[in-house]
């Protein structure tokens, strides 16, 4: 049901029946390693290209989520997935092997919550009983497409972020036990004229704030109503800007964090300002945050996945970076 300007309230409260997260070698050394279902020791994941490795991780996350929900893939009506590759090949090719009716999504790093919002809407409206929402990214495959070759010796500035290698998937179901998706706010594209692709956090922060403000306004809630509000991949720089922008508007959030800061921990020389990538918010949410909810540490969270909608071509043509953010509220325990 539409509430306010751009927010859906899911009255039937769809359940995240199961979720799975798969990570690469770098993620395996991070503080959230225990929250992954499967970790790969090498970037190739036993494949002969990085693109195939990403697809394999996406397939593994999807299969594992379906297994954990006690389902077979034939039980799932729709597969909603997206990634950062050209023509989202990881998702389409994974959909080929899964054989589940497929919606391909592209929202850059906001895809995880775009998928969860749409999947929950499908389930809530009765258009599906089970929907699989997934996403993936691969550090080397993404760098190859968007920036320089992996082994190229360029100096990354302190605002640069590190693309997560991994995949994550969640099964949204009409009935059952588990964390419930209660509302989603679909973001507008916001472009503040930022042009530096090595400062994605700074470019995306206004989009995150725009969506958070819209969510609070539409639902008439405030930051204090959530145990945790986590942005997708703003990193250290973008997170600080977003927090200050919210403060400026009088909407400071007491418990405000960023998935891009959680996944590798606070100090890591290679990741500079933090993590990014479609798998960043997905793996942290479907792995770490859902686990914390199940342990009872968190009851109500808002995930605001942020995406930078640039392409290497638009950057070369000196266009600025349009950004987007989608927010999904997840609750566990309390009133059913």
């Amino acid at each position: 049901m539409l509430k306010g300007h751009q927010t859906w309230i899911f009255e039937n409260r769809p359940v995240i029946a199961a979720a799975a997260a798969v990570g690469g070698p770098f993620e395996a050394r991070g503080p959230l390693a225990a929250d992954f279902d499967l970790l790969h020791g090498d970037l190739w994941a036993g494949q002969d290209s990085y693109e195939k490795a990403e697809r394999k991780m996406l397939e593994e996350a999807s299969r594992r989520a379906v297994d954990k929900a006690g389902l077979r893939k034939e039980d799932v009506q729709f597969f909603l997935s997206g990634d950062l590759g050209n023509q989202i090949i990881a998702s389409s090719f994974a959909a080929r092997s899964l054989g589940v009716p497929f919606f391909g999504l592209y929202g850059a790093c906001s895809t995880a919550m775009e998928g969860l919002a749409l999947g929950s809407l499908l389930v809530d409206s009765g258009a599906a009983r089970y929907v699989l929402c997934a996403t993936s990214s691969h550090n080397a495959a993404t760098e190859k497409q968007y920036r320089y070759p992996t082994e190229y010796g360029s100096q990354r500035p302190p605002t640069a972020q590190w693309t997560v290698t991994g995949a994550a998937a969640a099964v949204v179901a009409a009935t059952g036990d588990g964390p419930r998706v209660t509302a989603a706010t679909i973001g507008r594209v916001v472009d503040m004229g930022m042009t530096d692709p090595f400062n994605m956090g700074g470019a995306m922060a206004p989009a995150a704030v725009d969506t958070i403000v819209a969510h609070f306004r539409d639902l008439n809630v405030c930051g204090g109503d959530y145990d945790l509000v986590a942005t997708g991949d703003l990193g250290r720089v973008g997170h600080r800007i977003a927090a200050d922008l919210l403060q400026k508007q009088g909407l400071a959030i007491p418990s405000f964090t960023d998935c891009g800061l959680l996944i590798y921990g606070p100090d890591h020389s290679m990741v500079m300002a933090g993590a990014s990538g479609t798998a960043c918010s997905a793996a942290v949410t479907y792995g770490h945050l859902l686990n914390r909810m199940k342990k009872g540490e968190l009851r109500k969270v808002l995930i605001v996945a942020t995406g930078a909608l640039l392409s290497p071509l638009s950057y070369q043509q000196k266009e600025s970076i349009p950004c987007i953010a989608h927010a999904v509220s997840i609750e566990y325990g309390g009133k059913e």
């Binding site: 002969d48 070759p149 992996t150 082994e151 010796g153 360029s154 100096q155």
Partner: protein
């Protein structure tokens, strides 16, 4: 940012740019320059030793010893690239490794490695000069212009 670029921003965007800039970590310009100077200088020192090695041990003149010396430096850079070490050194050294011939070799080797999965023709062959291509193009153009100017001047003034 240049003033021309600034003019295109709306007041809201300009206000945000200023707001964001205060919250961005500064790039350590002085430290980066010092590191680039030290590493770049060190690479040139190694190159000089290699050149002298060829000069003293083989039948090279001071002019011709430069060629095998450059080849050795390229080989070292490629070996470091292939073993995955070069990009870590470059993150520390910045322009220090990028400006000497080592950076040029790394740009070609890394692009070739990266596109190996697309095959030798479309992948390696087609992408090897992805980064180095513009260096070669503008290097040749610049050399041509300089040579032209020199030729014209020497024809006119003619020593």
């Amino acid at each position: 940012m240049s003033d021309a670029k600034k003019k295109k921003l709306t007041p809201v965007q300009q206000e945000y740019h200023d707001f964001a800039r205060q919250r961005e970590p500064n790039r350590p310009l002085l430290l980066n320059s010092l590191r680039a100077f030290a590493v770049g200088g060190f690479i040139c020192l190694v190159g000089q030793f290699v050149q002298d090695f060829f000069l003293w041990n083989f039948d090279f003149t001071e002019k011709t010893a430069g060629n095998p010396a450059v080849a050795v430096m390229i080989l070292i850079a490629v070996v470091l690239t292939v073993s995955g070490v070069f990009d870590h050194i470059a993150q520390w050294a910045g322009a220090g490794t990028a400006v000497p011939v080592t950076g040029f070799a790394n740009s070609i080797a890394s692009a070739a490695l990266e596109h190996r999965t697309e095959g030798f023709i479309l992948g390696v062959g087609g992408n090897m000069f992805k980064l180095a291509g513009s260096v070669i193009v503008f290097g040749v153009v610049a050399a041509f212009v300089v040579a032209l100017v020199r030729t014209v001047l020497s024809t006119l003034g003619g020593p």
